[in-house]
Amino acid sequence: MDLELMINSFPKLLNASVITIKLLSLSLFFGLFIGLFFAVMRMSKNIIFNKFAYGYSYLFRGTPLLVQIFIIYFGFGQIEFIRNSFLWIILKEPYWCAIIAFALNTGAYTSEILRSAFQTIKKGYIEAGKSLGISSKIIFYKIQIPIAIRQSLPAYGNEIILMLKGTSLASTVTLMDLTGVAKYIISTTFKPIEVFIVAGSIYLFMTFIIHNLIKFLERKYNY
């Protein structure tokens, strides 16, 4: 065990986790909107909307995240038409390719989490709202959404942790995130165990924070 290497690589890895956190928070931000959008579509009575949302979640939950990143990064880069379009401004950057892949992936899972949360809302709440003469729009924003968010917190917490670990795949498209920098240090020191132990501990610490944050929110919004 090379303790000195572990100590020396710690600040570099800590620095790299900033990118990991950025990737995670941006993907979760976009993913939440995507998830909400598709969850609502999924509950729609319109068969086209319904099937489209179902197909989306089926596709992104049914294929590995790594494959999705590779298709978006290396796949789209091969297509002349995309390279010549305005899309290339975004798709040229590995950073945005990773965020698009992560957001679409977590969006699919989030849509399922939110859908099941919406469906567990007791009809009585909505009926109570209606009987008070509240419009269905207000019922949706003021009753359904808050309850759904509370219901989905435990499952969504899991999804955040899975996504955090998923961001390590960003290193496969040249991003120097926590895993990317760990691999870089290994490429010059040839000591994978030491470096991965430090990197793993940082991931563990981040998971610890997320886990407790979710637990705090669960308690706060308990009813």
Binding site: F74, Q78, K183
Partner: protein, 283 residues
């Protein structure tokens, strides 16, 4: 119960026999993704200069060999963890690697070169046709300055943990915006897509790609050798430690050096190199 015991004993015995056979076989690790040095054919079989050379060297050593595949970025760690006994993967002999592992004498040499897509403003860079960093001198310094100017603000792509990455990180051409990839294939893909402005690798890796893909990849600037680029490609072997295993590693180094000598004398290395590279890359 008796049958149970017998089964256990025979399983243990077979394990014992297997480990014995295993310790007599030389396991050679290669990447299988760096043509023409080593690659895979359509059926997934390992082919290339080093695969063919490995079988030849094993014949001279007179032992059974097995060639195993290993991702490039884990090559040296895998050797140290005894997943195999020797590396033949286009790995150049460098001072940095010599700190961790041993190398046999070099069996082939390659030059590195920058590559761009046709139409790049880096085409027609005014440098000598080749520079040797070990020799140095005014001409080399001037060429490095020219390259530093040309690379400024450009995204330069290399495969991770290579001599090419070491060179770009060394500061010889200033501070470069380097992007690292797991395989050379991925470097080639992003050079063609335009994400990389310029790439650095073995010149043959680019000519091989240009030939197979039909993409207009152009080599620019001087060919590089010496310094961070090492002193030829050799067989990587663990440093012999103490005990029987350490002795085995030390013996393996001797065996490979002997085999390379014989193969060189008999013209095997030249022949195989010419077959795969199109020119005699042997040394």
């Amino acid at each position: 119960m008796n049958i149970f015991k017998k089964t256990i004993i025979s399983v243990l015995a077979s394990l014992f026999i297997m480990t014995n056979v295993y310790s007599d076989t030389i396991k050679i690790g290669t990447e299988g993704a760096y043509p023409p040095w080593n690659s895979k054919d359509a059926s997934g079989k390992l082919i290339g200069f080093e695969v063919e050379l490995a079988w030849t060297l094993c014949r001279y050593i007179g032992k059974q060999c097995e060639i195993v595949e290993q991702d490039w970025d884990g090559m040296i760690p895998a050797l140290l963890m005894r997943k195999f006994d020797a590396i033949m993967a286009g790995m150049s002999i460098t001072d940095e690697r010599l700190k961790t592992i041993n190398f046999s004498q070099g069996y082939a040499d390659e030059v590195a070169q920058l590559a761009v897509m046709k139409g790049s403003d880096l085409e027609g860079m005014d440098t000598p046709s080749g520079i040797n960093l070990s020799i140095g001198g005014g001409a080399v310094k001037k060429a490095l300055k020219t390259i530093e100017g040309a690379l400024a603000g450009k995204t330069v792509c290399v495969q991770t943990a290579t001599i090419h990455q070491n060179f770009l990180d060394s500061g010889d051409v200033g501070s470069v915006n380097v992007r690292t990839y797991k395989t050379q294939d991925e470097v080639n893909l992003d050079l063609a897509s335009g994400r990389c402005d310029v790439a650095l690798a073995a010149a043959v890796a680019f000519t091989d790609y240009a030939e197979k893909s039909g993409k207009p990849v152009v080599l620019v600037g001087p060919t590089f050798s010496g310094g961070a680029f090492g002193n030829g490609v050799g067989v990587g072997i663990r440093k012999g430690g103490s005990g029987a295993i350490g002795e085995r590693d030390a013996q393996l180094l001797k065996d490979f050096n002997m085999a390379i000598n014989k193969a060189r004398k008999n013209g095997d290395i030249s022949r195989i190199a010419t077959k795969w590279f199109g020119f005699d890359a042997s040394m």
